[in-house]
Amino acid sequence: MSITLAIAIDGYLLFFKKSSAENIAIDSSVNSQSNSNASESSSASSSSSSSSVDSGYQNGTYTGKSASMRWGNVQVKVTISNGEITKVQTIKYPTDNPHDQQVNSSVLPTYEDEAVKNDSSKIQSFSGATETWKGFTKSLQSALNKAES
């Protein structure tokens, strides 16, 4: 099994999405037997010969069309050889970096006075590296949530 085989059984997996999760469609010409989750919008066919390796993924080159990002579509390509993913790449990017336009209003965070005990009375929400539920009751956010005023 090699890249050559992977190309020979070239198939397509379409990750397609317009504006919300409900609109994704999937299209595969490699594999249709396990497509039940996507059946409502599937146009799958099994016309091409498929070749799979035991306990591996279906060999092939999969391209997807997707847009989980609000600012544009992303299309990806996955190559599978010998049942393993050997390569993933983006073949279509969001257009002209529109994200730059969307964050034009971005603000610079300002430093609190480190010498003084922080006056966080006006802050409504706290950001920090992921907290667990276990430690949450001792956190600033939890205290703020429960502070009746």
Partner: protein, 280 residues
Amino acid sequence: MMKIYKKNIDHYIMLSFEINEMNIPFTGQIVVKEDDEVTREVILGRAKKIHEWLVLVDHIFSPFRTNSELTLYNHRKIEMTGTNLLFQEVFALSIWAKEMTQGLFSANFVGKYNPTGAVKGWAIEKAERIQLAPLLSDPNFVAVNLNGGGDMQFSSSDKHNWQWEIGIVNPFDNKKVISCFRMKNGAIAASGTSQRGEHLFNSSTGRAIPEKNFNVISSSVIGSELTYSDIWATAIATTTINDHSWLKRLSGSGLRISYNKKSERWLNHEIIDQKELIYA
């Protein structure tokens, strides 16, 4: 019955709820003009939907559940084409994220696929967009925010002067705030090793990022979409404070802090300043 907390802020009222899912504390914050029974019913309805969504996300993406799609996929029990469409969406997102960050963010496709670093921000952004932000079309609703363990997506009505005031927690003392900013609509994601222990891995070596002087203890990325900010916060947490190779590719602003207490702010592809945190 879910509890709603109430807080008066200027002439507005903030109603909050908490959800514990995936061992992450989620806080929903809804700013309203009037607090009445109907408003609370609407909020509780949205909170229930958000909770159901988070349960679904956990069932698809949990690396700990033996029957999650992620586990089934990694054990070759299901093909990509047999996975949930949300699974495929995150897969595409992860591929793009790796290229966008030039490998700083990696869901490790060759081997055991693990998109955990992208799922949380993506899930919070979707929940805020679908369940909370639409509330703002009702004139009684002023602003909404969904904060999941420190990562949040927030929106505000144009008709009011409300702005969110967000504090960034000091990674050396989580009882203190190190920085803050005000914004109407946007997102902030934080990553690092300060709250959960060493959970970041160098994708090229497979080793945990060690707590060494120049390594980043916390990174905070401010932007308009939490999906994007979260990917970048995770990516920047793997860098050292003197490495700025990522700056030209990242839009928006942010702040990162190293173990040797250097703190750095950036805005629109430029470093604003770097200083020592003397009192941290």
